[in-house]
Amino acid sequence: MRIALFITCLADAMFPEVGKATVRVLERLGQTVEFPAEQTCCGQMHVNTGYQKQALPLVEQFAEVFAPYDVIVAPSGSCVGSIRHQHAMIAKRFGSPALGKQVESVAAKTYELSEFLVDALDVTDVGAYFPHRVTYHPTCHSLRMLDVGEKPIKLLRAVDALELVELPAADQCCGFGGTFAIKNADTSTAMLADKMRNVLDTGAEICTAGDSSCLMHIGGGLSRLRAGAKTVHLAQILAATREEPMVLGRAERQADVHAGPEAVL
């Protein structure tokens, strides 16, 4: 089985630790992961902001790069949602019938990380160790577009020493929404305020999720408030082990935790 990692443009540029963690987890489970270097971006930002035609070259590039692989895994529910639900629409509107077929076949073998682990590999205990109080925010696209359901929760429950606490009003959007966070910054911030209050109410030190984008938003807000809690991607929790535990301290020591007080991305 040839597995390709789709890192996503955001994690590539801003959160490389999420990609490294994804590779570590998959390799620990005996898989070989390849990283096709020609990959760029799924085009979701363009589609969701109203620039569908401009998304076409990105969709073409994605389909061509990943077509040769058996499986494509991405540490993002949102990007996988775009690949599954938007690529076909762009191909139909602007591309050739051949592209339409290609994006359909690529979409069918593209998985979000928790889906791949639980559905394809049939694993919930990935051998992780994370001795922290953690709450899980189901990102909207994982929850509603992909319907990942309890998969991330099952993975977290199996993590050694992890104390999982339920997030109140978990299914409410954090307010990120891509360019929504900029175009409607005030509304986005109001949603963020409620999400942060719920996170802080749990007493968790870590809020985790399957999307770096939402975590960047929530983590950026927590950091601004010096709230004493931070965000960490699910892949990073799953990658941490007793032998190589994750350090959640200051930036100098830990270069890639999502923005938290005194921390960094």
């Binding site: 890192i7 760029t40 175009k183 509304t187 960094v264």
Partner: protein
Amino acid sequence: MSAPVMLGIPTIPPTSPRGVGNLRGEDRFPVAARRALADTQLRRNLGKATATIRSKRAQVVAELSDWEELREAGRQLKVHTMANLPDYLAQLESAVIAQGGVVHWARDANDANAIVIDLVRGKGVDEVVKVKSMATQEIGLNEALEAAGIAPLETDLAELIVQLGHDKPSHILVPAIHRNRAEIREIFLREMAEVDPALTDEPEALAGAARQHLRRKFLSAKMAISGANFAIAETGTLGVVESEGNGRMCLTLPDTLITIMGIEKLVPRWQDLEVFLQLLPRSSTGERMNPYTSMWTGVTPGDGPQEFHLILLDNGRSAVLADAQGRDALNCIRCSACLNVCPVYERTGGHAYGSVYPGPIGAILSPQLTGIEDNASLPYASSLCGACYDVCPVKINIPEILVHLRAKHTETYAAEHRVPSAEASAMSAAAWVMSNPKRWTLALRSGRLGRLLGRKRDVIGQVPVPLAKQWTDARDFARPPKQTFRDWWAAEHGGVR
């Protein structure tokens, strides 16, 4: 000026005209939302009310094992009806006429208002009672009647609160959702001449005051105006579902009844109500069944209104129908479940949308009824979280239509302007870079210059540059890492593929 006749060439039907009705706000959504978000009482009122309705809805929906099948049936019925709308409308018209009703066709809000004013004047009446109706709010009927010297009296409790408060509705089902008990008491004391000055803010006392105020009007009114939840093509039957019984009074006591109905409210057969009368109450008020369901077919001698007029309203609906990607917005049965689950609506309330149709459904319906240029900010008033799609009783894929309308907006702009917008230029540049791995890799490396911004600290605080400002006003930004993922991979794996 008459429209040019173009034989054989399909034309885009007209959208709702400017200068009449309540489909356009004064401010763009972000501006209006900013104002609303600062109102802590509004936030509290909305948060409490939407949370209550949400949980009631979830409870009664969970009781039905065939809920998903019902939704699918509702969707298919609506899709079928819209695909055959001209035929069903003609069938409805014949059936209503055969049962003694009069049918009027109104191209837009101005047409509909003029028809109503003529009918009311023809009866020599200067006051009409009204059943809660979105269509009449949409066309600004109350404003038009008042300008013609006719007093419209809203009889639904919440609409009455809105009317007495010289206010606008902010929710499809619960128009005064933005008001709390204390505010309602104050409005009643100020606006109801005959009210007991010792009125308290207990719900029973407030409802009692409204009941006293309205009862006299029901008994004296000669004419009533209603909307319709459904019209049945095969029988010519109209239907209104409600909770308070004020609708039943209006529909049965006066001599003349005028019903204004959007042309999309049609269902083909009587039997189809089996589906919608299960979907609607559970989705809207969170009840298994609504207290009052009134159905009437034309005129029945000696029973109820002896004159019945049905006004079929287009007001941009044909234009919506002409858009294959957007037309599902017409399938809406006005339950408002999407408003109650929307995290944006819950915080900004309905007025921020500027239209009588707020929330997710409003964000896809209003811009289509008016033409995208008049409500261009609404399709962006969503984080695309998808909660609306999950609860919609007729499965309207609202996020997908929002994305479609965003594209329609940028493409309309591009077609009408020689110079691309700054955003379009940025998006094109990003696509040019991101569609090529070499360019993308270079861009990532130069992007690390952003590290300079936060070199003293590890997060980037407020940055006073447009776009960056909108982000960093409320959230810190991560300092870009020293090494991108692809550079790490290349270093680790020696550039293998």
